[in-house]
Symmetry: C3
Subunit: 333 residues, 3 copies
Amino acid sequence: MSRDSAEFMPHPDTWTRRDLLDLESLTLDELTTLLDTAFAFKQATDGCRRKLPLLEGKTTSNLFFENSTRTRTSFGLAAKRLGADTVDFTASSSSLSKGETFIDTAKNIEAMNVDVMVMRHHTPGAPHLLADHVDCAVVNAGDGTHEHPTQGLLDIMTIRETRGEVRGLTVALVGDIAHSRTARSNIWGLRKLGAHVIVCGPSTLVSRGWEEFGVEVAYSLDSILPRCDVLNLLRIQFERQYTRPFPSVREYALLYAMNADRMARAKKDILIMAPGPINRGVEITPDVADGPHSVILNQVTNGLAVRMAALWLVAGARDKLRQSICRGPAAHG
Amino acid sequence: MSRDSAEFMPHPDTWTRRDLLDLESLTLDELTTLLDTAFAFKQATDGCRRKLPLLEGKTTSNLFFENSTRTRTSFGLAAKRLGADTVDFTASSSSLSKGETFIDTAKNIEAMNVDVMVMRHHTPGAPHLLADHVDCAVVNAGDGTHEHPTQGLLDIMTIRETRGEVRGLTVALVGDIAHSRTARSNIWGLRKLGAHVIVCGPSTLVSRGWEEFGVEVAYSLDSILPRCDVLNLLRIQFERQYTRPFPSVREYALLYAMNADRMARAKKDILIMAPGPINRGVEITPDVADGPHSVILNQVTNGLAVRMAALWLVAGARDKLRQSICRGPAAHG
Amino acid sequence: MSRDSAEFMPHPDTWTRRDLLDLESLTLDELTTLLDTAFAFKQATDGCRRKLPLLEGKTTSNLFFENSTRTRTSFGLAAKRLGADTVDFTASSSSLSKGETFIDTAKNIEAMNVDVMVMRHHTPGAPHLLADHVDCAVVNAGDGTHEHPTQGLLDIMTIRETRGEVRGLTVALVGDIAHSRTARSNIWGLRKLGAHVIVCGPSTLVSRGWEEFGVEVAYSLDSILPRCDVLNLLRIQFERQYTRPFPSVREYALLYAMNADRMARAKKDILIMAPGPINRGVEITPDVADGPHSVILNQVTNGLAVRMAALWLVAGARDKLRQSICRGPAAHG
């Protein structure tokens, strides 16, 4: 079955990266390969329900220095669907408290023959630093306020799945842009794919600097709403804010929450997305979250497909790399 | 192997429930199907030692909002013996702290294609609420002081295994009836199967209200002891009590602990059970806990069989339901 | 494949122990069997990269009453490489807080048909006590300051792997000997295999009593350095010390840290080892830790091989024992 699966899904020549660290540095071809692979995996596995044991015998590791439920689980399940074993590390149980450096912790885990290391860290750039020090593949599962590439990909996959094409769509990211790695990954990915991107929120949380990158900056949701094909409603990340960026949650909801009244003024086929966890009554009202325009739970399912694709692509690139270094057949085909 | 196993063990027509939420609402037929399946699984797997991969490719999720060692592990091992993958969630690591509702957390997990959700929650009725909002199967692993159906089943299975028949036996539940979901599940199950049930403990922890349901209420263990075929010694749940229900642990032990002296006055073939963890010297003395009448560790092993049966039955019912909704072949046979 | 693997690797007659509790009580033959098996496993699995499903269908349990990253993961991965399922228990999530005894917790886990119990406990002798009360196999993963047999074995395996032979080598254990279970396991193993062992560190952390066991005691690293073939640099275990055993970390590093200056005065082929996690700048400087003489990460990989060997040997011995008790075929071959 492993052999058949491998034939069914050959590793694409358009993917040569050993790591997936961000969307900013990806080419359009690479971005498309990632998305195409995710769609192919979703179809081949009845919506990520069946297994596709392309990574049998391999080991992935979740190295999480920040708490996470859904991302860690999603990566873990994606690995299981591919037949890989997974080991979980969390900061609290790790040896960091014994004075070990972050790189030494990672190198120790790698020495247990881990093939892919999935990493979340509160410091922007930590996965990039890690990638310089290990031979295994590294996937960034969120580094501080910097990037969260698989979240960006699953958002984009959900748009493409529903609308067929990303090019030409107007996508607004609403809310706490300043602290959102999800926003950043969406911006790079959507721009490369030809979408018009608007960042919208209180001026304390949205920088004019984004205009330099071809992104529209808006402070009023109502003023941009009629033009939007997609709204991605970011959570207010209270846990990342040291100052109060707006007077009250109530005022925020009044200005930026998606509700029935705003839905009435939006395009008929508007897509409502949210990276979750959602705060009902803050950035979104329950009727909108559970309404027919919402694809919030599709995003979660697509997260599995995207992570299966990411794990498989980087593991394959890493095997090719090892093979060319060893100048012989790969350790395990 | 999966196909052979499936032939070996056809899904019974007498089971159509997608969820196992309590024993109170089960019919006698359903209760018997659960127990028969558990016995069949135990026998087919050399006492739950071998695998029976009837749920290969499926995913179960442990969603625990209360701490648990043995129940979570037992459900996890039962799933593994059936060949299913399992993902664990605990309240501390979950997104509840980020303001997400309990139902949203569950729906997110479900969107990762979880087939069966095993749930423990401190609020009575939480699994019932959950079952109304998800399409996957739900198994209650304990909801506050309400019910703990698989614990009730494993207790009953252990009685039937040892005595052949439950009907006609006198079973006393001793101790903290008021706070015990185990007691509640035992009462409903044992009554349906025709046992005479006595609840016995300090009047602060045993309500006269049980008499309405055909249950005998007693405050003195010594007075009922000679009539009992089975004693199920409940743990004093200090963590659930806001007031002191008895003057001292010593006094409790004096009146309700099973010890050598009371064993001498009990039936020759009395069965000593405890849902664990036991407090040696409180509800039971070490000589009784480790003595020949004790089936405490058999209960633990039977817990695996009962949970294998529960997971398999609800997963099967859910597949049938999906099949009839889709009006075509099930997504995975 | 399971059958083929079993043929490939027959259980050795020289191993009959159901438990691996320490290296002190092992015979030279048993020690050699453990090491030979670990080497055979490493070779047969491409350096522990491939699976060798000799324990398919079996369940191992990690019962850890002390925090651990690498040891718990290493045992878990070793079990997975052998095809076994693993269940994890940690003190915080366990029922100990509900008043259950340590032995009762273990017997409950055993009753879920666990075949091998891997245990870490802060109390010296806890695994030995456990082994007296359960029928499953027990592997000590560290008991207080007493022993850590698989750590001792992986250190010795790494020496034998690099130098071919342990006999005749001079091996110095440097640092906190008093609180180090790793030191103790190394001493017993290395002495049995014919190495000359030196324990070296501040007099507050190194007892003269070791001389009784044929071990050389030294307080100055510089004085023994020219004679050493291997240095095993132990971490200062701040978390186990109630008094200050030396004036400052700086002074400790000045006297006992392995650095470039000391490397220049050491043997040309000296081997630098450390059980990790390392404190860079305390017992070892970065240039030495990452230099050509360091085999620190090889130790981690060898840990997998040693733990695969240990799990497989004790599980096999336990099966033979069950078989002879049952006077019939084993429950699962």
